[in-house]
Amino acid sequence: MNITNSKYEEALERYKQKIADAATEEMVLNMGPQHPSTHGVLRLELITDGEIVKEVIPHIGYLHRCFEKHAESLTYQQTIPFTDRMDYLASMNNSHIWCMGVEKMLGIDQEIPKRIEYIRVLVCELNRIASHLIAIGTYGIDIGAFTPFLWCFRDREHIMGMLEWVSGSRMLYNYIWVGGLFYDLPVGFEERCREFVEYFKPKTAELNQLLTDNSIFIQRTANIGVLPMDVAINYGCSGPMLRGSGLKWDLRRIDGYSVYPELDFEVPIGTGMVGTVGDCWDRYKVRVDEIDQSIRIIEQCLDRLQKELKRTPEFDPRAKMPRKLTPKPQDFYFRGEGAKGELGFYFIHDKKRETDKDGNLRLADTEVPFRVKARGPSFCNLSVLPEISRGVMIADLIAIIGSIDFVLGEVDR
């Protein structure tokens, strides 16, 4: 199986030639895949001239686990644990969006009980806070501030504990199912969650004192890695990355899926308070502000869950779960706001061709999708990196990478 058409190898040859040429004048520097500040197994090939980065060539795929191939051979329900492993810092968001997409295809999205949707949003927002805490904490470490990391992880541990209580697992939950939930919330969860909210509310103010307004931190991040809004849109950046560039674009508001239209929250954007709009500091600040907004959403969810949507003994979170997940043949793209940005799933569902015992070809219903494409927000956010890091210092590149806040599990899938 040797490919003889040289057209398909041309780009590879050109790349090899570029690296070979660079070795004479400039220096080629490999950063990663084991470098701690590349947040996982990202490898960046830097063509440098002294301290100046002339070009960044990202190499990804070290964590590729064939999500799309798996999804083509497993049923919709069986794929949910795989979606958890994409953005493993915000697993609830991934499975929520996957399940909503499948429910839309089945046409049962209006039948989901309100209590289930509120529980879903509650756990998703808790998970979003956990994800942002990691982003903020590790960003501090990247540029030399160790204390915020410990503070963030201390608070994140509360969330991990609560979600473990809910689902039985610390990070990869498999809690949200198509048409329902794995279980109802455990008894006493709402009260525990309120305790956490009261404990956590003053913490962002502390974090702001410690890191956000820290002058060393501002010097390292303000006016660095400026991402103009038009470039951000052109490269498909979304989430805090796009909002950091000053655009109010949050799919929870725009598409208004699930119960988000009933909830009251703001969409924070970057304003260029200490530098230029769209710099690293703005992206960082958007995440800090989003934590406050998520806390607001959680409080509203708890209000509803403790009052009009109270738990009843006969409430069964699996009551609406279809026994067979067989949508009509169609294709459907569903997008939602994950912790890192627009997470989309594109499903193509078709009937399965099979031959019966007489040898006749027939079309049968199937629970397995024909093709699934996952559009990870980190994937697109990372693809803008070569564009915004041309001509920066190597130390600033670390600040830019950290501010993108990607998860390699989602980049590589």
């Binding site: 799309e68 839309k104 193509i348 693809s383």
Partner: protein, 166 residues
């Protein structure tokens, strides 16, 4: 702009034959575009003040199966000013000869986001994008043989670089 209006706009600009069909049965209607005109169509949809589809949400390469013998690309566009979405599809027949991959024009000149998505479609489905600036493999190793997301893909070799595949 509604789906019908977008269709009329494209026909008025490029003529009848630019749209080779449409799919309106499902939840999201899709326009089937002539593969050779996709760059013009995307540029018009992005720059026209009535549509402003400035955001490429997703680009998917699809192998429609051995029986069907077609390969396609699906574009999901979104308009940030108008908050609308649009699906475009192009497809071509191909006989699965790996020396003659199905070839589509690259839209990296319109949307930067298409860069990595097209590289992924190239390595996974085995489709070539004319005019792509850097069409190397993205997720797979450079020396990977075959196209894993093709429907007829099988791991023929028992060994990959001396490592046994179970």
């Amino acid at each position: 702009m509604s789906f019908e209006q977008i269709k009329l706009l494209l026909i008025a600009k490029f003529g009848e034959d630019v749209i080779v069909g449409e799919e309106t049965g499902g939840l999201q209607p899709a326009l089937l575009i002539d593969p050779d005109r996709i760059i013009d169509v995307c540029r018009e949809l992005r720059d026209n003040p009535k549509t402003y589809f400035d955001f490429l949400s997703c680009l998917t390469g699809v192998d429609y199966g051995v029986e069907d013998g077609r390969f396609g690309v699906v574009y999901h566009l979104a308009s940030i000013p108008y908050q609308t979405q649009l699906t475009l599809k192009v497809s071509k027949e191909n006989d699965r000869n790996e020396d003659e991959l199905p070839s589509f024009p690259s839209i990296t000149s319109i949307y930067g986001a298409a860069d990595w998505h097209e590289r992924e479609a190239y390595e996974m489905i085995g489709m070539f994008f004319e005019g792509h600036p850097d069409l190397r493999k993205l997720l797979l190793p450079d020396d990977w043989e075959g196209y894993p997301l093709r429907k007829d893909y099988t791991t023929v070799d028992k060994y990959y670089k001396g490592i046994k595949i179970d």
